[in-house]
């Protein structure tokens, strides 16, 4: 009996160690590459790795892919275990948070040293990951919000073109609303809805990010109008409850006038909406050209044992890799040369996608909702629920924004 238990345990132990060993112990010249839910690009990424290691004998690249919600968990746990992936791909402001935590390597010196690299990128996008003036990430692929609209619905409502102002949006939305049909829909995660406020001259925080500046009469009025429009059904409720599947699915259903979303949304509702064609889908900038970026960046963990190798890999991916990624996924990468070439090809092969991606490279100076905060998620957590309460008619704008201001102030103080 004893021997049997011993056997079992040792057997298990053996199995365990054999399977644990490769993962835990980092080989001398091994880097790991963590991507954000692009498992569908496996062939491409495997290809990158083979090409990258080909002329680098003894180098190994381990590829890990996690889905969005898992990434923070995974990265945190790996930090604790002391084995963070060398190269990580984060979305939105997460990179800044990690930078603030001291988890990421400051790339500024390397970028200064190699201007050929820093000059590759669209400066506005690159600066999205500048935390306290230092740059921690390079663009992997970039997106910002824009306004999709349903041309047939616009025509039947007697609307000539896309709205040019906030008032126009609300007005158009109301005109297109009837029964099942609603006029306007926006994504709400991260700060994707913020252009609605920016176009009214409202800003969340002071320039130096020390105190909130959003509790103004204008902001209250804007919030109020949004809430009323939602109440009236002109703005689809899903705008404030859904995340990704619901809003895009609703727009795909063809009875929503406008969708304020970032470019990847197109591929989702295209897939579900039979009505989506170059003739029926309108593409425009939000009024004032304001947009919230939600880009994917690549950074290097400070704990990386092969930082230089990781940096080489970063340069490789954002150049040779970018080309292929842009073509496969039909997206822009922030690498100016690559994007120029890919867009030129797309203009012929897929004009609609071209028109969408083109917006991503225009008005890049008008990006909002990308405050360089080290505690972005906490500020969001302090602000959004209050706003949501108003928009769903569960609280009045004035008091909600006041509460939000109080909370945001606390978060900013706590840092």
């Amino acid at each position: 009996m004893i021997s049997r238990r011993a056997l079992l345990k040792s057997g298990a132990g053996a199995v365990a160690t054999t399977l644990a060993a490769p993962a835990i112990a980092q080989a001398p010249k091994k880097i790991s590459f963590l991507t954000w839910n692009i498992i569908d690009q496996e062939p491409m990424i495997r290809g990158w790795i083979t090409r990258f290691v080909k002329d680098r004998p003894g180098v190994e690249v381990e590829w890990l892919d996690k889905k969005g919600p898992e990434i923070p968990v995974f990265y945190q746990t790996q930090l604790v275990a002391g084995t963070p992936p060398d190269v990580i791909n984060t979305q939105g402001a997460l990179g800044l948070e990690y930078a603030a935590q001291g988890a990421l390597l400051d790339l500024t010196p390397r970028l200064k040293a190699e201007t050929s690299v820093s000059s590759r990128f669209n400066a506005d996008y690159l600066s999205n990951w500048a935390y306290e003036g230092n740059n921690y990430m390079l663009p992997f692929y970039i997106t910002k919000t824009l306004l999709f609209y349903n041309k047939p619905m616009f025509q039947t409502a007697g609307l000539s073109g896309p709205p040019r102002s906030f008032d126009a949006i609300i007005d158009a939305a109301q005109r297109m609303t009837s029964g099942e049909a609603s006029g306007f829909l926006t994504l709400n995660f991260d700060w994707l809805y913020w252009p609605l406020y920016a176009m009214n001259g409202v800003d969340l925080l002071s320039k130096d990010l020390t105190h909130p500046t959003f509790n103004t009469p204008t902001a209250i009025e804007v919030t109020d109008r949004l809430a009323k429009a939602t109440e009236a059904g002109a703005i689809n409720k899903i705008s404030w409850t859904g995340r990704w599947v619901e809003p895009n699915g609703a727009f795909a259903a063809g009875n929503v006038g406008m969708l304020h979303a970032h470019s990847p949304a197109y591929f989702f509702f295209k897939g579900q909406g039979k009505w989506v064609t170059p003739e029926t889908l309108g593409v425009a900038h939000a009024p004032g050209g304001f947009a919230t970026p939600n880009s994917h960046g690549l950074g290097i963990s400070k704990a990386s044992k092969n930082a230089d190798l990781a940096w080489d890999f970063l340069k490789f991916v954002t150049n040779e890799g970018a080309q292929e990624l842009g073509v496969n996924r039909k997206l822009v990468t922030g690498n100016t040369a690559v994007d120029a070439k890919n867009l030129a090809d797309l203009e012929k092969s897929d004009p609609l996608v071209y028109s969408i991606l083109k917006t991503q490279l225009e008005h890049t100076d008008k990006m909002v909702g990308n405050w360089r905060l080290g505690n972005d998620s906490k500020v969001k957590e302090a602000f959004w629920p209050e706003l949501q309460n108003v928009l769903l008619g569960r609280k009045d704008a004035k008091s909600a924004l006041a509460d939000a201001e109080r909370k945001v102030t606390r978060e900013l103080k706590r840092g």
């Binding site: 935590q101 988890a103 409720k237 995340r243 998620s377 309460n389 769903l392 569960r394 909370k407 606390r410």
Partner: protein, 308 residues
């Protein structure tokens, strides 16, 4: 250790020490595991909860700062606490339901056995899958529940169950109940079957009506089973992470946020491990208190599980 014992004196002492040694080494594996994965973590949480801790910075003493933050400023904490309590509040209903079913099935008929398995069948299911299944049943477009409601003319527009602040929590609870119902039922069922028949016979001879028999005999005799159900219900409401994570991930807003999901989010999502630890401690205290109450309600015998 046999030879060592061999050197001991009188026969009974030898036996005694041997027994103790055996008890010790038999308990060892289990105790080791519980120590590593229950006791130690709890203590560690206690420590974390009074520190400022993050993976890359040396810990600093925080005193009760996190608790203060939680109790005074953190609305989400109160929200999730409320939701957790609602979750618990639902378990008596579930238990009552289970009791009803158990009474119906409390016979040795073949059919009863079949129904029993059917009712129980939902318990062994993978919660992640259960979450996905119910998400789908609640779905606004293709979900059968909305379909049924619309066909039967109860509602004109489909109800976005999991997206609406009013419906999300009840919906999740229903799914939860559906899964755990069978477990309650089985426990109660054998509780019923372990009630000696002669009690009833005696009662009917005294001419006590059925409802009286139920009140006087069945319920009191079922106390241990009901207590166990209550404990399971409480534990579930504190641990049904998978279901919420898959069905709503705490949303919309924090309408379905439970303490456990909030702990997870603030720990791993917002990297506030120390704060999460404080939440954990509060949750555990709450859990202890509730179990104690349930125990008292069940008539003080420290639970059906413990009987010397």
């Amino acid at each position: 250790m046999i030879p060592k014992i061999g050197r001991r004196g009188a026969w009974w002492r030898k036996k005694r020490t041997r027994e103790l040694a055996i008890v010790a080494c038999f308990l060892l594996p289990s105790l080791a595991i519980f120590f590593l994965y229950r006791v130690l973590p709890l203590g560690w949480n206690l420590l974390l909860s009074v520190q400022y801790w993050s993976p890359l910075k040396p810990p600093r003493w925080a005193g009760l700062d996190h608790y203060q933050e939680m109790l005074l400023y953190d609305d989400v904490f109160w929200q999730s606490l409320k939701n957790t309590l609602i979750f618990i509040g639902a378990s008596p209903i579930a238990i009552a339901l289970a009791l009803g079913i158990a009474l119906l099935l409390n016979s040795d008929l073949k059919s009863a056995a079949v129904y029993r398995s059917i009712v129980f069948l939902s318990y062994p299911l993978m919660t992640v899958a259960v979450g996905i299944i119910w998400r789908w049943m609640y779905d606004e477009r293709g979900g059968i529940i909305n379909f049924a409601l619309r066909e039967s003319g109860v509602v004109a527009k489909p109800i976005p169950f999991l997206q609406s602040f009013e419906w999300a929590l009840p919906s999740v609870i229903v799914a939860e109940v559906w899964q755990v119902l069978g477990f309650y039922m089985i426990i109660i069922l054998t509780g019923l079957q372990s009630i000696p028949q002669h009690l009833y016979e005696a009662a009917s001879i005294d001419g006590a009506p059925h409802w009286a028999q139920f009140g006087r005999i069945t319920l009191p005799m079922l106390r241990p089973s009901l207590f166990l159900c209550a404990v399971v219900g409480i534990l579930n409401s504190f641990t049904s992470f998978d279901l919420v994570y898959i069905m709503t991930n705490g949303g919309p807003g924090h309408a379905t946020e439970l303490l456990i999901t909030y702990i997870y989010k603030s720990g791993f999502g917002q990297t506030k491990f120390d704060y999460a630890a404080a939440l954990t401690v509060v949750q555990f205290i709450l859990l202890l208190a509730l179990t104690y109450l349930a125990n008292r309600a069940a008539g003080g015998n420290a639970g059906s599980l413990e009987r010397q």
